[in-house]
């Protein structure tokens, strides 16, 4: 009974951005746990899970940022996933109790030089997650995110957090984003943790 709570058997999962590296890892992990994975919506196919894997990076000091770059980044990281979500809602393509997962980044939560545009685009999703979660709760639809650090080595772990958020095991979790910080497992993530201020 409890093992079933972490299964994706009989669930159809739409992976938006499946062609990306992380998208592939997530799609494969979902199908290994029993899900039917789709790269795009299909008519009369209720969707139980929607995972957004679009993630465009931009390293640029705010002082040097061009309006065109900023607009392009917001379009790919925010407008595309949000409008796809809206389209699926408007066409009643999401099953009751469906789970929506956005891909954020540790940058949505913590500041860093050169990350202004990227961090803002990911933080925008945090606002979207909270409000959409409230709007869709009556339908039992949940909306969450994952916020991984930029490190390909943890992609399989990002996929496991996504699976948790898609599975029934997390049916009472909505409006949050799980920070996947590496847990100090390597020296880079450990030194990031250790900079914690004693003030």
């Amino acid at each position: 009974m409890s093992a079933q709570a972490f299964s994706l058997q009989d669930k159809t999962i739409l992976v938006n951005g499946m062609a990306s590296g992380l998208g592939q890892v997530i799609a494969q992990a979902c199908s290994q746990r029993g899900a039917k994975v789709l790269p795009a919506a299909q008519p009369r196919q209720p969707i139980h899970g929607l995972v957004h894997c679009v993630d465009h990076a931009l390293e640029c000091a705010v002082a040097d940022l061009s309006e065109a770059e900023l607009t392009r980044l917001f379009h790919s990281n925010v407008v595309q996933p949000v409008m796809l979500t809206q389209q699926l809602l408007q066409t009643d393509s999401l099953a009751p109790n469906a789970s929506i997962v956005f891909l954020l980044s540790t940058a949505a939560h913590m500041g860093a030089k050169g990350q202004g545009a990227y961090a803002a685009s990911k933080a925008a999703l945090l606002g979207m997650i909270k409000c959409l979660a409230l709007e869709q709760a009556a339908q039992g639809i949940r909306v969450n995110g994952v916020s991984p650090r930029a490190d390909e080595a943890i992609w399989p772990d990002v996929a496991n957090s996504v699976i948790f958020l898609l599975a029934d095991a997390s049916r009472w979790i909505t409006g949050t984003s799980l920070l996947i910080n590496g847990a100090g497992s390597d020296s880079a993530s450990r030194s990031q943790m250790e900079t914690g201020a004693a003030a």
Binding site: M1, S2, A3, A5, F6, Q32, R33, K130, A133, L134, A137, A138, G140, R142, I154, D157, V158, N160, S161, I163, F164, D168, A169, S170, R171, W172, I173, T174, G175, T176, L178, L179, I180, N181, G182, A183, G184, S185, R190, M193, E194, G196
Partner: protein, 254 residues
């Protein structure tokens, strides 16, 4: 997928759950046993603790009656704990007391069970090297730590204290691969919630504010399994609300 490879399985792991004689802790113990863990369970009431033990799947589980607000209780538990791969601090008490009626005794009672017990138990388990490499420690705080509802002064303080404790602990244990996290539930259907209703709180009205409705102990138990399992091995120092969305519109960022 074989059970051994399943990152969400707890097979081969020994997990200590405090507060296992009731409510959330009881369900965490039961759910952990169902996904393969061997349990060490603890609580104060021996009859209800045995009821939990009888409900666990599989054999080889251990039940220890102990009051963790006393050092002797902690000593008893640590003595028999053996090697642990997971620890869940689910024991806790709550009592509604308006701020003007708080006294030292109330603060001591609440902090002894909610804050000092999990901190001192963790300390002793670490000192006695009872927690295995890559082990996972999970504290159960409460949404009250951030929402600070009316008459929860002592309770909210005792729960938000766990945030700082857990964050500092997680850094100190990272080198051994030991993770520490904290989950903060909203309103969950347990005997504790019944107690609050008897204490005069209008629970129906409060629960109606939860977007996904009242939580069940299973909802917290499944999150606990995630934080104990290898599926979360890259997650540490988390403080996560598990509340059916209750915190989303609250003014807790001021």
């Amino acid at each position: 997928m074989s059970v051994a490879q399943d990152p969400f399985s707890l097979s081969g792991k020994r997990v200590l759950v405090t507060g296992a004689s009731s409510g959330i802790g009881r369900q965490i113990a039961i759910t952990c046993s169902q996904v393969g863990a061997e349990l060490v369970i603890s609580g104060r009431n021996p009859e209800r603790l045995q009821e939990t033990k009888a409900a666990l799947q599989g054999e080889d589980h251990l039940a220890i009656t102990a009051d963790l607000s006393q050092q002797e209780g902690i000593d008893q538990l640590v003595a028999v704990a053996d090697t642990l791969h997971g620890v869940v601090h689910a024991a806790g008490i709550s009592k509604l007391v308006p701020f003007r009626l708080i006294n030292k005794q109330h603060l001591t009672d609440i902090f002894d069970s909610n804050t000092f017990a999990p901190m001192l138990l963790t300390r002793d388990l670490l000192v006695k090297k009872r927690i295995a490499q890559n082990g996972s420690i999970l504290f159960i705080s409460a949404l009250a730590s951030h929402s600070g509802a009316v008459a929860t002064g002592a309770y909210a303080a005792s729960k938000s204290a766990l945030l700082g404790a857990m964050r500092s602990l997680a850094i100190e244990t990272a080198k051994q691969g030991i993770r520490a996290n904290c989950i903060a539930p909203g309103y969950v259907r347990t005997p504790m919630l019944d107690g609050l209703a008897q204490g005069g709180a209008n629970m129906d009205e409060l629960i109606a504010r939860t977007p996904l409705g009242i939580g069940e102990p299973e909802d917290i138990a499944h999150a606990a399994v995630f934080y104990l399992s290898d599926a979360s091995r890259c997650l540490s120092r988390h403080y996560t609300f598990i509340d059916g969305g209750l915190s989303i519109p609250l003014d807790i960022y001021a």
